[in-house]
């Protein structure tokens, strides 16, 4: 058995679809952020995979993943700061309970 590209792409596709499902069904904002991380991670893996399988002499995909990880870290930190701030004002992190931009 040869492990070709498609064998890796299927798990990452499932991972991405789980992210889509969680993003739509979840109410808690942190859980939504977790689903977002799943989607981001699936895409990161695909960058590295295509780089490794199709152009092993280059490093573009790997570096794209590296920068995507850095940006995901920054994005998560700011998002969690916002969520904590919202929690402090309304004591709630459910998206249903937050319908005002200004408190």
């Amino acid at each position: 058995m040869e492990i070709t590209l498609i064998y890796w792409l299927v798990p990452t596709l499932v991972m991405f679809c789980c992210g889509v499902y969680g993003f739509i069904t979840r109410k808690n904002m942190i859980a939504i952020l977790i689903s977002l991380e799943l989607m981001l991670n699936a895409v990161d893996i695909n960058f590295a995979l295509f780089n490794r399988y199709l152009h092993p002499e280059m490093m573009e995909g790997m570096f794209f993943t590296l920068f995507a990880i850095a940006i995901a870290a920054a994005e998560t930190a700011v998002a969690i700061a916002i969520i904590l701030n919202i929690f402090r004002s309304v004591k709630n992190v459910d998206v249903q309970g937050i319908d005002q931009m200004k408190f």
Binding site: E2, R26, E37, P56, M59, F63
Partner: protein, 170 residues
């Protein structure tokens, strides 16, 4: 032809990836979702090591598992009591989520089967030395990444300031 070891490794990584990502979006305890996310990220790191991108795997563990998941756990513990459960899904949002995910799965899966099924096995790659990675990250020449590197460092600075400004006590 791949060795038995790498096939076993593939099965383990793929199973952990699928099972833990499904559990992360279906479990009703939010702290467990974060833990399942952690296992998914570890599986991704293992995959990077298996592909031969050791630096990327190390970064994945250090930044995602060591930084982002810890941040998630802190935020969860600050915003909910341990033992809190998410309310049961209404059938409407469940159906909506399922339809979106399955539609995505069908469309992308069809594309994969049509286009990528004939792809070849993993080609040989010269082992990446750390010096090579560093030169690519810090060089200014063709296909070298000093400018994005600096842009990311400015972004991280802005993110630190933004995080402090947003989360500080008034």
């Amino acid at each position: 032809m791949d060795s038995v070891g790498s096939i076993i490794l593939y099965v383990v990584i793929a199973l952990v990836m699928i099972a833990c990502s499904v559990l992360a979006v279906t479990t009703r305890k939010i702290l467990r979702a974060a833990t399942y996310l952690l296992f998914t990220l570890f599986a991704a790191a293992a995959l990077y090591f298996m592909l031969g991108y050791e630096f990327l795997g190390a970064v994945q563990i250090a930044v995602y598992a060591g930084g982002i998941v810890v941040l998630f756990v802190f935020a969860i513990l600050l915003t909910s009591k341990p033992g809190d459960k998410a309310e049961k899904l209404t059938s409407k949002s469940h159906t909506l989520g399922m339809v979106a995910a399955l539609a995505m799965l069908c469309v992308a899966g069809y594309g994969l089967v049509k286009q990528v099924i004939s792809a070849t096995a993993m080609p040989q790659m010269a082992e990446q030395t750390m010096a090579e990675v560093g030169e690519t990250l810090m060089g200014t020449g063709h296909a070298q990444y000093l400018l994005p590197f600096e842009a990311v460092s400015v972004l991280l600075l802005a993110c630190i300031i933004g995080g402090v400004v947003i989360a500080r006590k008034r």
